[in-house]
Amino acid sequence: MLGKMAKETEVVVVGGGIIGSATAYYLARAGKDVVLMEKNELASGSSGANAGLTSTTWCPPGPLLQMSMASLKEYDYFSQELAWDIEFERCGRFTVCETEQQFEEMKPFVEVRNKGGNSLRLIDRNELLELEPNLSPSLFGAVFAPNDGHVNPLYAVYAFADAARELGAKIYEYTEPVAINAEHGCVKAIATNKGEIKTKYIINACGIGAPVVSEMVGLKIPIIPNREQMLVSEEMPPILNRVIINAGYMKDVQPTGLGDSAARKKSTQTVGTVCNQTKKGNLLLVGVNDFVGEDERTTFESFPAISEGILRVLPILRTYDVQIIRSFAKFYIYTPDQKPILGKVDGLEGFIMASGVNDYGICFGPIIGKLLSDLICIGETTIPIDEFNLSRFG
């Protein structure tokens, strides 16, 4: 399957994560000649090591909310119509509030989002415990997002990649770009460690590696890695039907407009309580976030930090004495305003950005792929993505 590399193609997608493989899929579906290259293996970056959450809750009204909702539809189509088993489920999400103050804060939050088209609902403790009896009775209430859910991120990447391949896309692993040839402000070819490919378009769908690829055409992009550590529990019988996230964490790490996330200090460490149970039965527990460069190691402190948080929200884990079997750390593709960097780049025809997806890459992957495919094939997108252009950073 590694075979000899193509010499020429229409579009080269760099990066074999969710964004790259989805983009390759939609382009191939639109009949484009597409090459997907990954310097390591498919799903070996951030796409392969996360909780696979698909969420609309945090999205402020506007393109972000539109995109998240459209992306869920793509997942529906992919898993239902095309019957790919990617463990996608709109199981719903509770953004749990531990105090009354947090709960009050959520009222305008919900109102604004519902006006923008979401269907969030504030629920009190009683209803919360009725729906999720294993949650701690000390919680005050929650925001219920019926459409949110999760997907197996690994399966999603492989499904898109395999589907793209079935449609004729060529996928090259262990293929790392080394230079990009551009003439007269136009992308001509990409040189890799395995040879050169002539192409009209290059899509930079690398995660934290995106700055390296952009650097090849002299572009500086403000993406920095934000390490996220998480724990994985042993398989257990179903104890949790929906995704749980604590309100404080969502406020801290996502551009909700609630916290001062744009001014989130680079030195800050954020500890959160996010939990979902996979189809198999493992609990995925997120997480501790910090800025430490590209250090993928986990820390001792993250273990008690994450565990204490989750035990507060899900005390049943203590009774049940659930065991942690693994920890891992990967990166958010952090941008200063926590919005993605998407679309064409001024002054360089054929170079397209598809990165900076912070922690919502898995959720947004399909729609980003679809929009970029439209951008290339039709020249416009159904959801406006101008505000995500790289030029906003000046």
Binding site: E234, E235, M236, P237, I239, I316, Y320
Partner: protein, 102 residues
């Protein structure tokens, strides 16, 4: 079955025995031994049934690495019996799949 007499290791001196309950049946165990040893001593070798294919499993590595000998111990599933010591009155149950919560 216990190996009481051994040509090199000698005879096991009667140690303090305790009683544990396995699937509702009381059996004798020696203090300090792992659960797995107590079960094998009482000719029990089937510890669990797997989740996907419902296959029987028992001891495999005996040193806590392979996690195949897990059972429900005192209501807690996925307990590695080869490295968990018996305690007086311990309740041990065959595990089906990933166990259940009570």
């Amino acid at each position: 079955m216990r190996i009481i007499d051994h040509p090199i290791l000698g005879r096991i001196e009667p140690e303090r025995t305790i009683r544990i309950e396995v699937d509702g049946k009381m059996i004798e165990a020696l203090e300090g031994e792992p659960i797995a040893a107590a079960l094998v001593a009482n000719s029990m070798r089937l510890f669990r049934f797997t989740k996907k294919y419902n296959e029987p499993r028992g001891i495999f590595c005996a040193i806590g690495r392979c996690t195949d000998c897990v059972m429900v111990v005192n209501g807690i599933p996925n307990t590695r019996t080869c490295v968990t010591q018996v305690e007086e009155g311990m309740k041990i149950e065959t595990q089906y799949g990933s166990g259940s919560i009570r």
